[in-house]
Symmetry: C2
């Protein structure tokens, strides 16, 4: 199966799984359940769950064991977008080609829907995969810890806090994005590898590669923010630059930023080759991150 | 040890444990770490963690095993207060006798600090108590599931959503509070019992008693909102009534509300007596909930 076929197949699996994660339930007030589903079903690249599944595959694991963590990563990513878009944060009105949640449901309900998605991510990982096998239970606890740490104040939430107060130079920029975007991408790759039963050496190499994926992802995001069409990227183009936020093209120039992204990909490939995963779909995800047009 | 001594001893344990949960760390930007600590160290009754520890004790378990869950419950309770107090929600400016977090740190940082506390709750429960024992790992996963479900859209977040859109009559009032306040109080009692190794029959009886504790807690909260001094309750008195929110005294009258709270306590005691826990500190916590003055 070539990568494009693999990507489409995994995305289809993920959409099916996500649709069953938040069913309408008599216990869940529709007003908040509908808000959660509005944002979760708005599409998006599903990069984090695909990376999680590909990582489990690459280490020879059972991909199905990684699906709950894959869905949890997308719930967490979606919550982070909802909260980032709030008027008190980035004040964005369009996301994934649709009005942002606070525009359609109000600020209070958007905050709550984000809270609900974040919380459901952990409920999901605690209950699934349902297995009495102690080794699977151990993997689940480890993955909950990895994902919670990546999503929390030392990771994504910390990066958003740095973004909010304003990052300054090139070092700050890398540190801020390493937390805000990179931490959850790393967690996606390592969570999949842990659920797939990877040994520690392989896990460390996948983590190193995914760290470069995360950096490359943000650099390309910044390039697309300068070059992209709003219809393709699904949000307001040029917004970061207009807001005076430091971006990689602003700091390094467009060519310099493209070269940086290419170097990330080379480093990641060296790590994955060392883990004998140079031909895996994980590596192909790295190439996709750098060559994507939205 | 009488209950007052027990309560003070457990609160001291909890304050010590909470102080070590969020240490300043080079990985955590101080701007968000300080905001999280501002709210977490503002005091409060620590009802949920005390109930969690007392429940573990009551079933003959090792209280230390329940401490991470106890701290996680307080992190989650604190996050919920921060988000509830936001201008887009209840718009409260005082809490636990201090200005609310968004007043001192801004709305965006208050949202992020809440997100960070919620996320750290799950990171904490995943890593502690650190034990390779499969039965302890199984209990930890079960407790993460219990607490996440109680805190999420079918529980606390759902209750807050109902509160935001406006509950109407007496039935709505009970359903809304059962989720908003009751779910996490129930989870505190059951999480402690699970970590303490309770059998399923005992667990069900503790859960039933804690359901009545949660209802009693809210009724008494409403009574104190009418009768209490702002200095004692640490927030603006009469605010709910002034906002036209339905309260138990408004629906049942003050005497009716007091009678309802007493009936909750009687039902809870019957459940706990059936579990041979009628003389436990768990029961004493129920009496404290009903007789407290703040």
């Amino acid at each position: 199966m070539n990568f494009q076929e693999y990507l489409e197949a995994r995305r289809a699996d993920i959409e099916t799984a996500l649709a069953s994660v938040l069913p309408p339930s008599p216990d869940c007030p529709p007003v908040v359940g509908d808000a959660m589903r509005y944002s979760l079903t708005a599409g998006g690249k599903r990069l984090r769950p695909v990376l999680c599944l590909a990582s489990a595959d690459a280490v020879g694991g059972d991909r199905a064991l990684a699906m709950p963590a894959a869905c949890a990563l997308e719930l967490i990513h979606t919550y982070s977008l909802i909260h980032d878009d709030l008027p008190a944060m980035d004040n964005d009105t369009m996301r994934r080609g649709r009005p942002t949640l606070h525009v359609v449901a109000g600020e209070g309900m958007a905050i709550l829907a984000g809270d609900g998605l974040l919380t459901e991510a952990f409920a999901l990982m605690a209950r699934a995969p349902a297995s009495p096998d102690p080794s699977i239970q151990g993997r689940k606890l480890r993955v909950i810890g990895i994902i919670a740490t990546a999503a929390g104040a030392t990771g994504m939430v910390g990066g958003q806090a740095l973004d909010l107060v304003g990052a300054a130079g090139a070092d700050d920029l890398r540190s801020m994005h390493g937390k805000k975007t990179g931490a959850l991408i790393r967690a996606a790759a390592t969570a999949g590898a842990v659920m797939g039963g990877a040994d520690d050496a392989t896990l460390a190499l996948i983590d190193a590669a995914a760290t470069d994926f995360g950096l490359a992802f943000q650099i390309v995001d910044d390039i697309l923010d300068v070059e992209g069409e709003p219809a393709a990227i699904g949000k307001t183009a040029g917004k970061d630059a207009a807001a005076g936020k430091p971006t990689y093209p602003a700091v390094y120039g467009l060519d310099g930023a493209r070269r940086l992204a290419g170097e990330c990909l080379e480093r990641a490939e060296a790590h994955l080759r060392e883990a004998r995963l140079g031909d895996s779909h994980v590596m192909a995800i790295g190439r996709w991150i750098v060559t994507r047009s939205h």
